[in-house]
Symmetry: C2
């Protein structure tokens, strides 16, 4: 398919779409046992195919080296034995999660005598578009399968051989469990036109989830004709209130910045109430410097931290994903919330305070997918939230916000029981 | 604004968008008492303005008569004293609903020690696009306001004077409660270009809800760049199983067809298991004929009802919204479910059965926003479902399915409490 013309790409994607829609009914109706059998069989196939996965990956790595792929991307691309093991374990872990499909909730009798509630059902067909990491192929397939959806996966061209090898394991596992192989389909062409088809096939794709950098997500959102669950950037803030415990503030801020620089839950800007700036900042600053973090500070902050670089307007809108932190001293919680509203990305923002009113007001008014009190922003993650696994973190407002697990890949229909009830 | 050029329509809509976004933060933060004060003040203003509303409506009615508006549309357009009273009562009723905003649910401790749950928050800015009925102006404003959203309303050009008069009452009520008048804005131009702007202003509009015929909804879905919550057609089925109580089947089917022909929950196609067709159909057919309903039947059915018109393929895909019913005799529940999957609109479908397995299988496998057992499809309605009021019935899969009440106009964010918790 790699040399396909535009027309054949269109036809190819249309075929995938038709097959996905057809398979989706069977996956939706499959019971938990069958889906788990498939997940475990895929895990086994991946472990058994360790050698061939490594070979396929070596082709991608070599091609990546030849085309001068950046070291960070090559690292993401690589399938080490530990990562292959990790994929298999991830699949088995998803198998242990409770089956979300068919769950009935909120059954209540209404004045008419009808008993009305909701049943959790799959969305239908989910398109996943992602970049270099080949493990996403297995992770995304697992979550979509568990939630009863058919899936069309489109990975990065640099990982095409690895992804096709993983997709073969998935097909094998599906057939072991008696599920149609078309329940999870991998797009085997690297042609960009395939992405356009995927995000515009309204008849066959119910939602698209892009997993990748801001550029990818923006492009897809702009061109999509099907709904998109977006994960844009995580420009996370911590506000240290004047009622914060000094030691707690220092610990949480330090952890939020340095736990891992590259995650979307990393703190990028620290806001400090001027009443406690002189108390908290010098000690924190020393620890940040010890960890190799560069501090960029506003004018007021620099009166306390004279050695810090001056922050520019650009700093407030930058998701560093690196050992850099911008610090602004504010005169009130309101000013902190205004800053978050103006510059934040609605991902995860936290307050450190011992004051109940402040905590309640902050959680109510800050409009982010996660609002935290006295906790490190780096906790923003599906596993930590008890979702079992996550397919991404939605910064969208509709359908699902924050970490998206198996439940976020489902929807609810109403079920109504009567006894021959008429109006 | 009526004679606005395209450029000024663009500017005008942009201004509405900016104002809506600004107002949305204040509506979102408003407490329940304030929002209810506004709702009751709007109700009072509408009652007090009965005379001027009637005058404005007379202008629209006269224009409608002159342009030869169909009688059904003229009927929808008319503001009688009873309808004005109805609008005011609707507003007061929404005021009595519990405030959905700030509701916290599912707070659970996680292994990290963090306590994590969800808080219900407004979506932001909602655009409503509707046709002739001017009462939608008040109804939609009430539900959006109650759920803490700012609203931009775009009504049909034939109701422009009535709508502007109602919008004035809304502005007055908002200011009585100290809420910004821009919390609910009515688009005062009838230029079609305004709709295009409204559904493409991604920075200012978070979701658009079209309320109107299939044509309107399709057009808007195709051109929209913001998410749309669609209400497409209601092609509802009842399947009479061989384990159905004969009398119950007759009553529920008759009620589902004849309660009101024009509602989206009306039954359009009846599917009958061949084992009970001869038992159930003749009696039901007689009652349908007595009510003036025309029956169009498949070949098998006509062997039982020889006087019925022959149904064509077209009948299975037609939402009559009229005293017409298509009947098909099927050989099994599976065939009934296949029919519903092929021809249905995913709105509301019901089974009549006394058999538990059949009921469970039907509710699990039929993929409609409401699946009913032994109940009339005409119950598909927000009031009947206990939602207090409804802004429409979503046939979409994402965000909200089925009747959409105040809760469907909200979303949830995560809130996370720690005690200085770090990773």
């Amino acid at each position: 398919m790699n040399k396909a013309t535009d027309l054949s790409v269109k036809e190819y994607m249309h075929t995938l779409g038709v097959q996905a829609r057809e398979a989706s009914q069977l996956v939706a109706d499959a019971d938990g046992q069958t889906k788990n059998k498939a997940l475990n069989a895929i895990a086994e196939a991946i472990q058994d195919s360790s050698a061939s996965l490594t070979d396929a990956n070596k082709q991608d790595m070599q091609a990546g080296n030849e085309t001068g792929l950046a070291a960070a991307l090559l690292d993401r691309l690589e399938l080490t034995p530990a990562r292959i093991e990790g994929m298999a374990n991830g699949l088995r872990q998803v198998a242990t999660l409770p089956d979300p499909i068919g769950e009935i909730s909120d059954m209540k009798f209404q004045p008419s005598g009808l008993q009305i509630g909701r049943m959790r059902v799959p969305i239908g067909v989910i398109g996943i578009i992602y970049e270099s990491r080949p493990n996403v192929t297995a992770d995304a397939a697992a979550l979509c399968l568990k939630s009863g959806n058919a899936t069309v996966l489109r990975g990065g061209s640099e990982a095409i051989n690895s992804n096709i090898a993983i997709a073969d394991c998935i097909k094998h596992g599906l057939s072991v469990a008696g599920l149609p192989e078309e329940s999870v389909q991998f797009v085997e062409t690297t042609d960009r036109a395939a992405v356009i088809e995927l995000i515009q096939m309204q008849d066959f794709i119910d939602v698209v989830i892009p997993r990748g950098g801001k550029g990818l997500v923006k492009r897809i959102s702009e061109d999509a004709r099907v709904p998109v669950i977006k994960h844009l950037e995580g420009l996370c803030h911590i506000y240290i209130d004047e009622f914060a415990d000094k030691e707690m503030a220092e610990n949480v801020a330090l952890n939020s910045k340095t736990y891992r620089y590259g995650i979307c839950g990393a703190m990028e800007t620290l806001l400090v109430n001027e009443a406690v700036a002189a108390d908290v900042l010098p000690g924190l600053n020393k620890k940040l410097i010890d960890k190799g973090v560069e501090v960029r500070a506003c004018k007021k902050t620099r009166s306390v931290l004279p050695d810090a670089t001056a922050a520019t307007e650009e700093d407030w809108v930058t998701e560093y994903l690196a050992p850099v932190l911008s610090i602004r001293t504010v005169d009130s919680m309101q000013q902190a919330m205004d800053h978050i509203k103006k510059y934040g990305s609605g991902h995860t923002d936290a307050i450190i305070t011992g004051n109940l009113d402040r905590a309640r007001q902050f959680t109510r008014q800050v409009d982010s997918s996660s609002v935290m009190v006295n906790a490190a922003t780096c906790f923003a993650d599906g596993f930590e939230y008890g979702l079992g696994a996550e397919i991404g973190i939605s910064t969208d407002r509709l359908h699902v916000r924050g970490p998206v697990g198996v439940e976020g890949l489902t929807t609810q229909k109403y079920i109504v029981y009567g006894e021959g009830t008429t109006r």
